[in-house]
């Protein structure tokens, strides 16, 4: 009895399978279409935005520059005019408008270097960072406080008052030394040196390998 029933159903097996096939294929046609997200998910982006991990301090950048750390790229996201006016040594200029150009992408979308974005303050650089993060680019950092902070802390560090802890004095002397590296001449030093010595870090050539997109080969 049971066998007969099974045989009855099995007689329709090809029709059944054909029906499933049409159902599945028809399902594809009837599925609601949606705009696919490019890059990372919105939730991930939000949690990245909240996290302060992306910030790098001016002291860290100064330290890297003085040690000629080859592992990072500085990118100035202000316009060309401001970049020509003043920028950090060896920085590249990618204005925010050109951020998503094909040329800029080879610098931003790679994982050989850390990329440090900066602007006058860090808000403009943050905008660039969000765009990059949204597209899933890795190793993108933002200089906390931007160039304004750079001036306040590295180029023209505040002299600590006498009642401040030793760490403040240590920090001051480090910052003073780095400002001298970046070409600031202090009066007590100028007397010794006699003439103004402008130390300019040599321009570094940054080569970024374009990521090769190798198509998968196929065949029968």
């Amino acid at each position: 009895m049971v066998k007969k029933k099974i045989a009855k159903i099995l007689a329709f097996r090809y029709k059944l399978l054909a029906g499933i096939l049409i159902l599945l294929a028809g399902g594809l046609v009837l599925l609601p279409k949606y705009q696919e997200h490019e890059g990372i998910k919105p939730q991930e982006l939000l949690s990245n935005v909240i996290s302060p991990e992306r910030y790098i301090t001016t002291d860290q950048v100064a330290h890297k520059l003085i040690n000629r750390d080859p592992s990072f790229i500085l990118i100035d996201v202000r316009d060309e005019k401001s970049y020509a006016n003043y920028s950090l040594p060896n920085a590249l200029n990618i204005p925010l408008k050109k951020l998503l150009d094909e040329d800029s992408k080879s610098y931003l979308n790679q994982n050989q270097f850390d990329v440090v974005l900066y602007s006058n303050d860090h808000f403009y650089a943050d905008q660039a960072w969000i765009l990059c993060n949204r597209l899933g680019f890795k190793n993108i950092r933002v200089l906390k406080g931007g160039l304004n902070c750079w001036f306040k802390t590295i180029i023209n560090p505040m002299k600590p008052s006498e009642n401040m802890p030793t760490e403040a004095f240590d920090l001051y002397s480090t910052r003073k030394a780095s400002s001298m590296y970046f070409g600031v001449v202090y009066p007590e030093q100028a007397n010794v040196a006699g003439s103004e010595t402008k130390i300019k870090a040599p321009k570094r050539v940054i080569t970024v390998q374009k990521r090769k997109k190798k198509p998968a080969e196929g065949g029968c």
């Binding site: 090809y14 599945l24 294929a25 046609v29």
Partner: protein
Amino acid sequence: MGPLIPNGVIPMEWDSIIAILIGIVFGFILEASGFSSSRKLAGVFYGYDFAVLKVFFTAAVVSLIGLYYMDYLGYLDIAQLYVHPLYLWGAIIGGIIMGAGFVAGGFCPGTSLCAVAIGKIDAMIYVVGIMIGVFLFSELFPLLEPIYNGYFYGNITLQDSLGINPYWAVFIFSIIAIVAFVISDIVRKKQKKIFY
């Protein structure tokens, strides 16, 4: 997430190993389903056995539907998949030559090697024929090069050239598959049964 190798989920270095594993499984299933018999393959052309047509068409349709569902659910980016480049006349002429060889010899290149593995003499001769063909092609390559490299249309698909929605293309393709199966069944029933 996918495709796995281009997105670095599986390192690039593994692809030869994976290819060998897939090749072993593919060869095993070809042999297990009897495709290493030239009579089964020739059956498609004489109308007494449509297993080859059914197997390959079903495989294509199932993977096509599966890939599009995976694309829809975000497990796979269909735009990243490899699309074979189209050299129009090269494909047409090559297809005709291969089809003629297929009918005459009863093997396609893959199944001929399967049959060699189980010791079929006709398959060995077939493979020698393939080698002669390869040799002739290499020797005549300067002559054939304009066809080989010409009429290039890029990595296009039916959807690009016809401009239809891929989902509709999949649907129509599945309907065609089922119609082909039904027709092949009718043809097979009209033929005299052959035991081999």
